[in-house]
Symmetry: C2
Subunit: 88 residues, 2 copies
């Protein structure tokens, strides 16, 4: 089963995340990316831009809705950015 939420870190490779994003999107019709910190948010944004190119030949126009969310990391509450990625 493909995950609904893809966690992105500052070390994530945007092209690899884009591939996972496109794969989950094709199965589920939407994907959520989660990122904590500027480096991770930057990689997530690049991944979305790249994934748009992966699915565009199939007539899919991906858009992102960014939002704040709270997640727990090692017992501490952190503010994360989540991106809900869907087709327009």
């Amino acid at each position: 089963m493909l995950p609904e939420v893809l966690r992105v870190s500052a070390d994530s490779k945007p092209k690899a995340v884009a591939g996972a994003l496109a794969a989950v999107f094709r199965v589920r019709g939407s994907v959520e990316l989660q990122a904590v910190g500027a480096g991770a948010v930057n990689q997530a944004v690049k991944a979305i831009a790249i994934a748009r190119g992966f699915v565009a030949p199939n007539g899919v126009d991906l858009v992102a809705v960014p939002a704040f969310t709270k997640i727990e990391i090692e017992g501490e509450e952190r503010t994360a950015i989540k991106f809900l990625v869907t087709a327009r």
Copy 2:
């Protein structure tokens, strides 16, 4: 005349950028944000999330399309991220 493109830096205040974004959106119906570097991209994403709340009471559901773009800074070409922000 309001600018079509808002440049966001790592030092930009997300809430201030969100206010400018909402103001330009109300006049033009779309806005482009440009950011160079992870810190700037992060502030731009936060600004979009906040701006969604500013316009949502008017029935507007803002979405973002991230893309790569080249811009010139002090004579050098840099890769920037642009966000085209429109209503869904």
